[in-house]
């Protein structure tokens, strides 16, 4: 019996859930009532980034 492919690890697992990060958006997703879309300057918490990892292309800690 073939072994099921392993689920890829979430690249943002190491982020702090409550910390805020400057994020580049790859695909639109909804946070609460607001849509986050590519091209917008978005600041998200680590928890939101993990929940929407597919839509995030780059993460940078907020420098302040």
């Amino acid at each position: 019996m073939a072994k099921a492919p392993a689920k890829p690890a979430n690249p943002y697992d190491d982020l702090d859930d409550d910390a805020r990060y400057q994020v580049e958006i790859a695909a639109p997703f909804k946070v609460g009532r607001a849509w986050v879309r590519p091209g917008q300057k978005a600041t998200l918490t680590g928890r939101i980034i993990k929940d929407n990892a597919d839509g995030v292309s780059a993460v940078q800690p907020l420098d302040r």
């Binding site: 409550d18 805020r20 946070v31 609460g32 009532r33 607001a34 986050v36 879309r37 091209g39 917008q40 300057k41 978005a42 600041t43 998200l44 918490t45 928890r47 939101i48």
Partner: protein, 778 residues
Amino acid sequence: MQRKVNFTDNQQVTLEDYNNLGNFPRESMDNVVKDLGGFPVGRYSGFVAEQTGQSVVRVSVGRLFASSGAIFGFDAEGGQTLDFLQHLPAVAQKIATVIVYGNTINTDVEPRTQLVDVESEDTQSAELSTENRRQAYVDFVLGQENATPQAPAIQSNYIAVANVLLTPSGVASITRITANEVTSIYGNSEQIADHTRRFAQVGPQIDTLKTDISGLAAALRAKADFAMVSAMSYDLARVKERVDLPDDHAAYGSDIFWTDDESDTAHPDYSARTEQGLRFPSAAEAVVALELDNPIEDRVIVNNGMALPKFSTVIRLSANGKDGEYPLTNTTVQTVQLVQRTEARTVRRYSTTETQGGSNDSWWKTAASVNGMSLSQVGAIFKRNGELYEVVNYYTNYDPLYAYSYAAGTRQAYERVTLRKFTEETMNDYYTDRVVSTENVTGSIVAQTMLNSQDGYLVGFNWFFTRKASAGDVRYVVCEMKGNEPDLNAVLVSNVVPPASIAIYPAKTEVRFKPIFQQKGKRYAVVLMSNGAHFVATVAGNKLAQGNIQYMIDGSWIQGDPSVDMAFEAVYASFTSPIVQVSLKALELAGGIDSVKLNLDALIPDGSKLDFDVRVGAKWVPLAEAAAHVALLSNLPSILPIRANFVGTTDVMPALGLGEDRTEVTLSRPDEDLCHISTVRTMPAPMDEATVTLLVENWDSDDHDIDVVLLTGGSYTTTVTPSAQIIQVDPARENAVKVVASFTFGSPVSSFKIKITGETGGSARVYHVSERVDVEFT
């Protein structure tokens, strides 16, 4: 009975006479039934149908009353039996309608001897009918067999008496058709008596129904009808969609930062400015007064803090002479309150780094949508520091390109011109009671009204006194008119002439005062008040023609002799030059000036103009032309030379306030950090989520930064950061972005404050938040 047959002694009687013995009563009876009965179709009486066997019905005797008035009788002994056995339905049901109809027949045939020859008296025997009868007949008409049977249609000369419901097993029911039954007079009488009793009970209520309905109609007129409310609900739903209000939102709020009434300015972290948007605070600020550079400048004449270009005087209105005299103490002594009006204001703003309110789309749209801003918003424009400045009414011209008036000829009291970096806001009322001073004055009061035929500045009067007392000042007041009476609540100038200064006719008593602008076509009044026994000269024969004398008695104005006027001369200003440039004291702010805000008392008549130039480097630049992208003060000069340009005609020129009482000049440069904290936002119920949206203008995406957090907890010290904050470019406005911050609370929150922090990051531009909207959800 209409007709009867007459017989006399020995009269020969004909056969017709005998027959008429019956015909005449029948005729009368027919008329009675026809006229008093008035049946449109026949009616019946009697004919009671009852079931006597399984399929047998017996109909009792009765009468048929035809619409013609004829009465047909049915008097068969025992009635008539109708047997439906042969007509019972096979499966379902059927209705047989019992009908009656009439026919006139000759009956009761008997053998009678008939005389055939009178002379021979021969007779013969014959079978003769001895009775003419109107006979009613009973029969039935069958309907169709059906599960839900219908009564059959019957001919118009039949009268339906009863419906007999037939089933396969026989007669199921008999229903008497009472609608065709004749109603007796007794029955009618009983019904009328019943109605009368009922009407007596409800009559009083019916009598007041008209009043009640009128009351209801009056109440209904004040109500919106359902269709309107329904339409409004639809519109509101569309508006919610347009302004991005979620359908399930539970609470919401917004601030356009016109005033700081929704700002927690006492918060220790608060560092912001609310001035047509939320703006960065000043890093340094100086508030100074506008002064003449040369205190003895001879190009202008300063009177009561108002500077007018140099002028000479000219007499424009004259009623000279002495045809009589009027004692100033002629009427009872009154105490009146004078409400002094003051010159209107103009506010000019210039900023190098900030954009002005014209690009602040939010409040400007608000202003347009409600046909004007709130009074507190207008008041905030012209208010000076620490001053109670109440606006009670105004007209607005929010768009100089599409100026409009509320009524033809109405001069709007507030006008605005906005360029990108420069704003000019002017109250167009020449004199305003928005800042008032009042005083109480006692004396006998007399007034002379006058019509001003052309724009100009009134600077004084020449009075003619015929006698004077040794004591008692004469107070003169120039005021506007309300209707046809002097308005002491709109006083333009009020001064006193002591007895020693009063000259006796023909000498003039000259009084001069602060120039008062008088509009063409407007009526004014000069009011004299005194306790002294002074006499003024009067002229007769309506020499002035455009005014009259009025006296105040018991607080009311009374018109005097219409052909008599006070003798006087009105003195006006005649300006030497139509263009005058005056240097003002240079503006100074240590460390550099970025923004200039001039809040000035000013009077700018139609056809005149008041502008300011500032010197940048070696060049004088009009402040108003520092529009668009001109960064006039980008080098942050610490000293800014400024001059005023008065432009007009020899009759009208603008007047400019000078000094601390009439001017407030704010010089500033913005700080690099912003921190605004709202007042407490209290929710109607605990909320789970919140979204705060900011509209930010003059945004520099490279350097600017902004953050929104919520403060919760008992003393609002717990910071809740947004789970997401996005900044999206607003395509409809240049350099504008929308900041959307979404919050999710760990546990429901009943109240919070909104904290906005920002940095300019060394940018040459400074942004402002023109609107904040928050929406909360359960």
